[in-house]
Symmetry: C2
Subunit: 462 residues, 2 copies
């Protein structure tokens, strides 16, 4: 139970109209893209501070009042990491929305945590750069949120995850200390690297308030193809060749198994670039800097792969419209579960060489227990990241069994139960499937050292 | 004073012949490439364990005996990080020398910490891959040592620092816990990222025993040019253009100021590719995957830059011999201080856009205090990393004043007192020039949490 005095003190810190309680809290702050607070539960308050100093004061207050604090970005997460805990203080970062600087010589952008990803992308583009992180929720997710969850997305193969795009960080610690570490240099070995501690820690170690982002030169050429394969081993061999021949210009290598392709064509109504006759499909894209030579190079690479029968069939996009149609197939996944009943989705990674056998194993285990499920499988192959979507599970009781099957297989293949979505609340029961007791103990040591009173997003991750 | 019982117990753990004491300790274990133990001082023992289990037992023993432990790799460091402390137990990792696995599908190599960098490079090459880290000490430095110091080197621009080449890690903590986190996946968001905590922590948080390394495809083309510029601003503009046009194939961008070029030609006897008439010199190299098209692309890029008068003059290497001659100029820095008396060297970074003014400022401050010094300035420009070499300082008393000038200027320009060499003992007095009190306090929090008895490399970094 939160005393009225604490709410009044929060109002004094951030201003009356930036604290809401009870039914006044907008529903968007009670759920992320995957889960909502249980019905009947509510946070003590939603607080919208304007800057790091206010967040510092809020944290000091909550610490002395013994109140849990749940940091919130754009609420687009898929693991429940930003879903408020009952009786907690939700701290929404949306008012920290300034673009502070673009340094064109250093190729950096300094921003506050509440700026939406799409704005960061646009501002970078206007300045002649690429901000490389990209994912479906770009319009709503915050740059601070994708930092706290170390988001991945469509271009990890070429540019890395969010972790690889952050040069400097400012965080507020549980005791209210503001740690400003806004490094702009590619190289800085002066003591411990602190930013990586907070990136991907899902708001359990500190609240990210500012970032120095790394920008890349804008690509000047894009070449795209949609390929069909006779067997999965050919996909792996093709990936190896693409890496060797396209090098740093290989930007996308998305793989789709037949059930994915069937649904995209038959149910989602996409136009098929190839007949539905193959064991696997791949969307490959090259992003280069040479608009004159790159298309020719890509065409020669594709031709050779077809001549060598590595690829069974392929279409190279001849226009931006055709390229859009290829991506339209891949993006159909976002509609697969609509109107299908209760879905279940998995975001796992396994070592790249094992993916073929892993997928067969998962499919076989699921079929043995639930013959009618027909899992939809696709992923970012070069990153080892596989998504398994079950469009309709029999009922909520089946969820646990299905999770045990998929995460159990992931454990047995030495994989990770979370490739890019994080652990949050949703995957917490399965953390030990991918991390050893010693690793989890070390995570707890860090948590205890930085947040001894356990007020920052308590109960998330572990 | 170490009791004979402790030495005897160390012998029981690792075997008699793997413990040496007193005058039997090889001198190579008493100094790194920059500094030696003070005369008359010595470690209590040098211990050479065979594996993580033995290291765990050594750490438990030292902890209960209250003995400091100093981990040692190839002793090629430049900051004193591996120099033994008086009365400490030096733990040399050279016997952990196995290459455990190459996974060609995942493009990873699993190795023990004591493998020399050059062996890693060769084994990767034999398997058809590139292990991208490269630096002068490649034949002696250990892969574990370059991890503990987050080494940089010649290809950071293209492939990142050591931090970017590590996927998984095994470390022994101060209490003897072996944390095995040998992740092979590019994507793993299952809880905190633990590896980054240890990379670059200079042996103060744990002892690295095994690594999963990230391999890259082998480049298939190399194109190199040596360029002269009328003014430094042109160098920055040329860098921007090289990034935009060469993209991910730009591998090297080394800048040298006139005093560097003069010494390389006049004193070190290198053959000048260009007359000594320019304000700045740049060695640029492109590494690509297309042996047919890349040389032509590079030549066109260079021609355009000359036509636009961005470059004042340039030579493109027409053969491997000529390329070697260009690199011979750049590598002359390793001989500059020979026979010159007492040298002083600096490894700093500043935001790329400020480098020109920073270099002018440092040179002016040094000239005001020491008119005869003639600092030699060069660096990895795209990384913001500048080396300032003073070939001969007046005497040891002048060292402090010179350090204050160079590190003071670095602080004033918002730079880092250590771009790639680490802090160790040598730069410890200057850590606060680059990091805030809050950052250093957070480093101490981490140190205390992981090593409460302060036995791991105590007194290094801070």
């Amino acid at each position: 139970v939160t005393s009225n005095e604490t709410i009044a003190a929060l109002r004094r810190i951030v201003g009356d109209r930036h604290v809401t309680t009870g039914a006044d809290i907008a529903p968007g702050h009670l759920a992320d893209a995957r889960m909502a607070m249980p019905e009947g539960e509510a946070p003590a308050a939603l607080v919208c501070p304007a800057n790091a100093a206010e967040i510092s004061a809020v944290l000091k207050l909550c610490r002395s009042a013994g109140l849990a604090v749940v940091p919130q970005g754009g609420m687009t997460g898929l693991a429940g990491g930003a879903v408020p805990l009952p009786g907690s203080v939700a701290v929404a970062l949306g008012r920290l929305s300034r673009i502070e600087e673009i340094d064109t010589a250093a190729a950096t952008m300094t921003v506050e945590a509440g700026v939406p990803l799409e704005i960061v992308q646009r501002v970078a583009d206007d300045a002649g750069f690429l901000f490389a992180l990209d994912l479906g929720a770009r319009g709503s997710c915050h740059i601070g949120g994708v930092t706290a969850t170390n988001a991945g997305g469509n271009r990890v193969l070429r540019f890395g995850m969010m972790r690889d795009l952050v040069l400097g960080i400012e965080v507020v610690l549980a005791d209210g200390t503001i740690v400003t570490s806004l490094n702009k240099m590619m190289k800085n070995n002066a003591g411990y690297d602190l930013k990586h501690l907070f990136i991907g820690s899902e708001g359990t170690l500190g609240i990210v308030t500012r970032l120095v982002l790394r920008l890349h030169p804008k690509p000047r050429s894009v070449a795209t193809a949609f390929c069909g394969f006779a067997k999965f081993d050919d996909v792996l061999a093709f990936l190896g060749r693409a890496r060797a021949e396209l090098g740093g210009t290989l930007a996308t290598f998305e793989v789709m198994w037949p059930e994915f392709y069937r649904i995209a064509i038959e149910e989602a109504g996409r136009r098929p670039p190839l007949p539905p006759a193959f064991a696997c499909y791949v969307l490959i894209e090259m992003m280069g800097t040479d608009s004159a030579r790159d298309p020719e190079k890509f065409a020669a690479f594709m031709e050779q792969s077809l001549d060598d029968r590595l690829i069974a069939d392929a279409v190279v996009a001849g226009s931006e419209v055709q390229r859009g149609a290829f991506w339209h197939i891949r993006d159909a996944s976002s509609e697969f579960s609509r109107g299908q009943g209760i879905p279940a989705g998995f975001d796992v990674s396994v070592p790249v060489g094992d993916i073929g056998r892993f997928v067969e194993d998962v499919a076989a285990r699921l079929a043995a227990a639930f013959p009618d499920l027909r899992p939809v499988i696709f992923g970012h192959l070069a990153d080892g990241n596989i998504h398994v979507e079950i469009r309709r599970i029999p009922d909520e009781r089946a969820r646990h069994d299905i999770e045990e099957i998929v995460y159990g297989a992931t454990r047995d293949w030495g994989g990770s139960v979370s490739a890019e979505h994080g652990i949050g609340l949703v995957k917490k029961p399965y953390l030990a499937y991918s991390r050893t007791p010693e690793e989890i103990a070390l995570m707890r040591t860090l948590k205890t050292a930085l947040d001894p009173d356990n007020i920052l997003n308590p109960g998330k991750i572990f």
